[in-house]
């Protein structure tokens, strides 16, 4: 079972740097998710590993052997592109058998292997159908079966669920992971859906403009995002600008807009430094009244909107200092609910606030606002 290692890989297309000094290691048997927005270089990354694109510089090791000059057909990787690229002139069975027959396996044996794959992906009954007769979900399973049937044991999936309905996506993502794990494959699954990445990935690598921002297991990426971009892209958060006014050995005080003061846990910034505070939507509480002793991090504001989202309710609250805060209360937790234009207090849990240095290019660029 292969491991993959990329060392200092770069690739430019005309004037655009698609991949920029990228290092990455994928362990044997791991299901790695590469998470990033459109245009961050995810597809190029997969194609470089597959051997379909030659990097301008850097090395690619597959199973600890230098693979830079190994052609795609000998790298033992199966590439599943975003729109599947199913062979329209071949039947479902023939599509799956393409890999084995290309490697020299006889038709009978190839068909046997393929039928097994089709059974595993619940497509056995459609073995003789043409790809365009299958539904979106079935086509996806066929693309997967075709990749799994080949001799490869490294699976490269480019947004495998991107073309599917939201509901089917939710169902299939568990199935893909199960199937891959069952066969003992190593997989690199590229996506822009952070919820999907957190659910299926053993580890997540966050990609931005051709560079890896952070690689770690899902809880660590979510709870300890190392940059504003990661905090915003994975899970979303409230971002408040301010500067440090005071520090002690237990935490610090940060002055926000219009003199609101927030308490944060211990940080590495000195008084006067400009910072950005990040707090997740669910790490907030909303109350009607505030008792005398509870004043730390309770900010008054007015509810702008309330949306029922199913397993939670999302509130937009305009604080009295001008900052807009999103608060998400899980269903069943909130004793009462709040309506539009109601006055409330929002508490930002001090132990959950992450403090970042104010970015050079400005906060909006960092968040890649649309």
């Amino acid at each position: 079972m292969p491991s993959v290692r990329l060392v200092n890989v770069s690739k430019r297309f005309r004037n655009i740097s698609a991949i920029n000094n990228l290092d990455l290691e994928v362990k044997d048997g791991e299901y790695l998710c590469v998470l990033g927005p459109t245009g961050s270089g995810k597809t190029t990354l997969l194609k470089i590993i597959a051997g379909l694109v030659k990097p301008d510089k850097g090395e690619i090791y597959i199973n600890n052997k230098l693979a830079n000059n190994v052609p795609p057909q000998e790298r033992n990787t199966a590439f599943v592109p975003q729109n599947y690229a199913l062979f329209p002139h071949l039947s479902t069975l023939q599509n799956v058998a393409f890999g084995p027959t290309s490697k020299g396996i006889g038709t009978e044996e190839a068909n046997r292997i393929s039928m097994k794959m089709l059974e595993m992906t619940r497509l056995a009954g459609r073995a003789d159908s043409q790809p365009n007769e299958l539904s979106g979900g079935m086509q996806q399973r066929l693309a997967l079966a075709r990749g799994l049937a080949s001799d490869a044991n490294l699976l490269l999936l480019d947004e495998p669920l991107g073309a599917l309905d939201a509901r089917i996506r939710v169902e299939l993502r568990y199935k893909i992971r199960d199937l891959v794990k069952e066969r003992g494959f190593t997989a690199i699954h590229v996506t822009h859906d952070q919820e999907e990445a957190m659910i299926v990935g053993d580890r997540i690598a966050v990609l931005r403009q051709g560079q890896i921002q952070q690689v770690n297991v899902p809880p660590k990426i979510y709870n300890e995002p190392q940059s504003i971009f990661v905090a915003s892209f994975v899970g979303g958060a409230n971002f408040l600008e301010g500067f440090v006014v005071d520090r002690d050995h237990q935490g610090a005080w940060v002055q926000l807009r219009n003199r609101f003061i927030a308490r944060v846990r211990e940080i590495d910034f000195s008084p006067g430094e400009k910072v950005v505070l990040a707090v997740r939507e669910e790490q907030t509480t909303m109350v009607k009244q505030v008792g005398e002793e509870q004043e730390i991090n309770f900010f008054p504001g007015t509810v702008q909107s309330a949306s029922f989202l199913g397993n939670s309710t999302a509130f937009e609250v305009l604080l009295k200092n001008g900052d807009m805060v999103h608060s998400r209360i899980p269903i069943g937790k909130q004793g009462k609910t709040f309506s539009e234009n109601e006055g409330v207090y929002v508490r930002l849990h001090p132990e959950s606030i992450i403090t970042y240095p104010y970015p050079q290019g400005g906060l909006l660029t960092e968040l890649e606002a649309i």
């Binding site: 309905d165 822009h192 899970g235 669910e282 029922f308 397993n311 999302a314 269903i331 937790k333 649309i370």
Partner: protein, 366 residues
């Protein structure tokens, strides 16, 4: 300000019935979402409203007037396309001004309106750009501005966020709703993403294979879905096939394959075979056994979903129950293999008649 009424709309293509006898009323200034799996007929339906398609049967009434014979260009209905469809040979300004332009407005008058639109959409500095250099989100905002600038008071949105990244989708959907509400428009928004619909709609229409399954507000559909399909399509649900064991005054006792559940609802019909359902967020999962009746199980999978944890718990008869809980400090102790005890509060257990076509077919989303 238009209301829309669809009366008995049917659309047939040779042997395929895309829409079957659908009737729907949308109030003035209402934001309605139509959701359903691919091929359920939702796009066909709004194409009928806009005039792009002529229904085989039925009437379309906009603002009290029958519009079946009125051509697209005279219906005054704005349309936002799934593949955005900005005119590639025109820049942002020319695209957005197209509506007033074809009406023969004078250039100064056009400029005032378009600049206002672009400012509202925060596109002011992209006015001279061609669509192909804009990001997906900016393109879709331009398309919406274009539809709004044409002066339509009824806006139809056909999977408007479908071609965008998930993160951009979440940000843009709120902006769209706010814009529509601020301008006092009526909107019908079609999507396959139920989470999107929940976030923006006043009311949601659920469709499947050409027919309306259920209509309700987001919280109605989530907390009290009247149909099994809705329960499965909008969010996740655990389903139990079973029989009514005893009907009590306050609770109904259900026998699901040997284990027992209680529901505050009355049995749905005389047949004893039923389906019980409960959402994963309402299942109570405990580490220690307490006195009340509980189901024993072992955690099979653990998925971290950011603010929530999703567990699949295998119970004695082999079935897997999905449980979702907010992430907390105790979440560390619940790993794969941990023994747990599940409780199903009766007020959250919903009862349904067992469907004729079988449970799997009834709830299937493909």
């Amino acid at each position: 300000m238009p209301s829309v009424r669809l009366a008995n709309i049917t659309m047939k293509y040779r042997d395929i019935i895309a829409v079957e006898n659908v009737s729907l009323a949308v109030e003035d200034k209402e934001y309605v979402c139509i959701i359903g799996p691919s091929g359920c007929g939702k796009t066909t339906l709004i194409k009928c409203v806009s005039g792009i398609i002529q229904p085989t049967n039925g009437e379309i009434i906009i603002d009290g007037k029958l519009v079946n014979d009125v051509p697209i260009q005279d219906r005054g209905v704005g349309y936002v396309f799934q593949d955005i469809a900005l005119f590639p040979h025109m820049n942002v300004y020319e695209n957005v001004s197209y509506g007033p332009f074809v009406k023969g407005w004078s250039p100064p008058r056009i400029r005032t309106l378009v600049e206002e639109m672009l400012n509202m959409m925060v596109l002011g500095d992209r006015a001279r750009d061609r669509p192909n250099v804009l990001s997906g989100g900016a393109q879709q905002k331009t398309a919406i501005a274009r539809a709004l600038a044409s002066g339509s008071l009824l806006l139809l949105l056909d999977e408007p966020l479908g071609s965008l990244d998930i993160r951009v989708r979440k940000l843009l959907r709120h902006e769209i709703r706010r814009m529509i509400k601020d301008l006092g428009l009526t909107a019908i928004h079609v999507t396959h993403d139920q989470e999107e619909a929940m976030a923006v709609a006043d009311r949601i229409v659920v469709m499947k294979t050409g027919k309306i399954v259920e209509v309700g507000t987001p919280s109605q559909l989530y907390l009290q879905p009247k149909e099994l399909f809705t329960a499965n399509f909008v969010g996740e649900t655990n389903f139990f096939e079973g029989h009514v064991a005893r009907e009590g005054n306050e609770k109904t006792r259900v026998n699901a394959d040997g284990s027992f559940l209680y529901s505050s609802e009355k049995a749905p019909s005389k047949d004893t075979k039923i389906v019980a359902a409960i959402r994963p967020e309402f299942v109570i999962m405990e580490h220690q056994h307490k006195a009340e009746p509980t189901w024993k199980g072992t955690i099979e999978t653990v998925a971290f979903m950011g603010s929530m944890m999703r567990y699949e718990v295998k119970i004695e008869n082999g079935k897997a129950i999905v449980v979702k809980t907010p992430f907390s400090s105790t979440s560390q102790e619940l790993e794969v293999g941990t023994r747990v005890y599940l409780k199903f509060p009766p007020e959250f257990v919903l009862l349904y008649q067992y469907p004729q076509s079988g449970l799997e077919k009834e709830i299937s989303v493909e």
